[in-house]
Symmetry: none
Subunit: 202 residues, 4 copies
DNA sequence: GATGAATGAGGCTTCATTCAT
DNA sequence: AATGAATGAAGCCTCATTCAT
């Protein structure tokens, strides 16, 4: 009945400010001072909640990826495989659009991954969970007769690559973005390619 | 017939050393001293050839992307559209595998792009040239009857995203990579999807 | 009633240390490290109080000239023109003797002036105020009949040049200095030359 | 009958270029590279003619002061003391106006003097020779009855200070310069003050 | 003599982190 | 818990000087 949430809330505030600041200035460029200013606290306070800049970055990236990982549950929901994929992709595209300004953090994370084990692990875990969920869904579709008997691992990887790539392109060339449109088009393309032709069974 | 190549060669040596060093340590982490040591010259010499660390990074990224841009000419060569795409993708996958250890530089570049106009421009230019060449090739294929009348801009974007995404995933999870295998599989998948069914006209 | 003086005091300490250090080693030769050591703080602390070495130098020169400019008020005090001039020169000579060891800073400032607009402005402002005050005093003396109807602007410039020159010579050749003696002698010489001969009006 | 003058000429060229360059950029700011470029030779060549930057500066200042010292012979020429003083001051003012753009070097030299024994010696020597010549001339004037029996050492110092001061003021505030006009006015002022009143002997 | 590429010591400045209050 | 002044290691860059050609 004490208030552990007081500091929990402060932690969240700092994390939010750090996310905004690091996204705007870059992981390497943003200074702890900048984060402190954005959070409305002093530099010293940052160190009461996070051991170091690295720890703050790690926590921040974890928080950034959490909703994306959580959205994977949509792939194990009810409905046809196609429904699930569509639902998941819609939700994810919405999440990504919500990330908007924070998108550059994702690239900072990718750049960091090969040289920071914690970050690499974090991202690898996400990608594995992502891949596994896609494979399960695709196999469900194949088993149910929705999809042709494709190489599910291969198609899963292809779908992941597709969306990562779209995200990346959107970041470099935001005008040509239309991330949501492109994303849906890409899914449709893949579904068209793996869907079992309708009148085929006749 | 004098020796303008003296500097040219030294420039190339420094660029090579810088590439290796920045790839290994990261654009932000590597120090000019590290580059100098790798190049076997003194710190001061670096500044004889490049005005600043930023200039060195810019030159290095330009050099990194040049062969990738150059490979685009394969898309405008002879043969069917499918041949050209296959040839180009093979060449590019080979290039990327050759990049191997330097691949993290690409991600550093992506992370830098939103905050460094020179880098953003460099990458945007490459992506535009890439997209235009793909569109040309796909339209050729559609005109010749190889491909179904697909939305070429959309498919081109999809192909680009696909390969960028594969590259990205390969970096985070190098073991599951098999970049070349995955890449060819992805191309085959797309080609299968857009190829005009053989006996269809009958 | 908080402690805005904490920084104010530290600022003053640093300024004092910088003055001593720059005077001893020269504006160009002294390192920020030297100043820090003299102030008993770390290098980083210097930058908490002054944006750069240049800013520190500018602040220091401003502080150096302030008392000299302030002494000009003596020229507008009570008494005959001759009293005022004598009083002012005495006070200024005392100030300059107090500057003693810091005198080389004045020459550094003169050397800097043509190439540093802030410094040039600072000194030009002082010289203009100086000249104007002298002219006012001389004109008062002419109006009151103390002085012959001389060209006051010219005599003012001459007085200024005289004292600047004495200062300069004292710096190069400190032994022959006797700045105070020479200074008083110079003033007497000028006063003798412009004073209206006593019984002349008879 | 060889050509020792070849290198003598080259030495002079370098000295001229150095003078212009150091005057323009400042003794501390100008780089050996700048001097080399101005002289139209390579950096290495500079070191064939001068052992170091310091040596170059010393030679340059010596050359700068030489004509001023030489002009002192005019004080020992023919004519009345007043003639000689007038002639000398005219010649010197012309020299100084010729120095124009190089005038800031004089202040660099004054700033350097307290911390560079060679420079201090050079300037002290000049000032002593200057003072001695003035004293001689004034004493000649007193002896001949041109001047009142003034304290010649004191008046000599006063004259020197006067002209040094005028020079200094001209540098800080070039617009109010009119160095030549002010200089002549100053001399006239002093002569008027020490000249024996014409009909006085009667 | 002349060159200019190469050197490396050294200066200015930044910033993650600490700690006394 | 919170602060923010203080620290000092470390990075980028400059430039006087050297030396092989």
């Amino acid at each position: 009945m004490s208030r552990p949430d007081v500091s929990a809330q402060r932690t969240a505030e700092i994390l939010a400010a750090a996310t905004e600041t690091f996204a705007r200035l870059g992981l390497g460029t943003a200074r702890m001072e900048d984060v402190a200013a954005a959070a409305g606290v002093s530099k010293g306070t940052l160190y009461l909640y996070f051991k170091s800049k690295d720890a703050l970055v790690a926590a921040l990236l974890q928080a950034l990826f959490a909703p994306l990982t959580e959205a994977l549950t949509l792939l194990d929901g009810a409905g046809t495989a196609e429904d699930r994929l569509t639902r998941y992709i819609s939700a994810t595209l919405a999440l990504l659009e919500g990330l908007q300004s924070r998108i550059s953090l994702v690239f900072d994370a990718f750049a960091l991954a090969p040289r920071n084990e914690a970050v690499r692990q974090l991202m690898a875990d996400h990608l594995h969970a992502y891949h596994a969920a896609l494979v399960r869904t695709l196999e469900h579709g194949v088993a149910s007769g929705e999809f042709r008997p494709v190489d599910t691992a291969q198609v899963a990887a292809l779908l992941m690559a597709l969306f990562d790539g779209l995200l990346q392109m959107a970041a470099v060339d935001p005008e040509a973005a239309a991330l949501r449109t492109r994303g849906r088009g890409a899914l449709r393309f893949v579904l068209d390619a793996i869907r079992r032709p309708p009148g085929r069974s006749a």
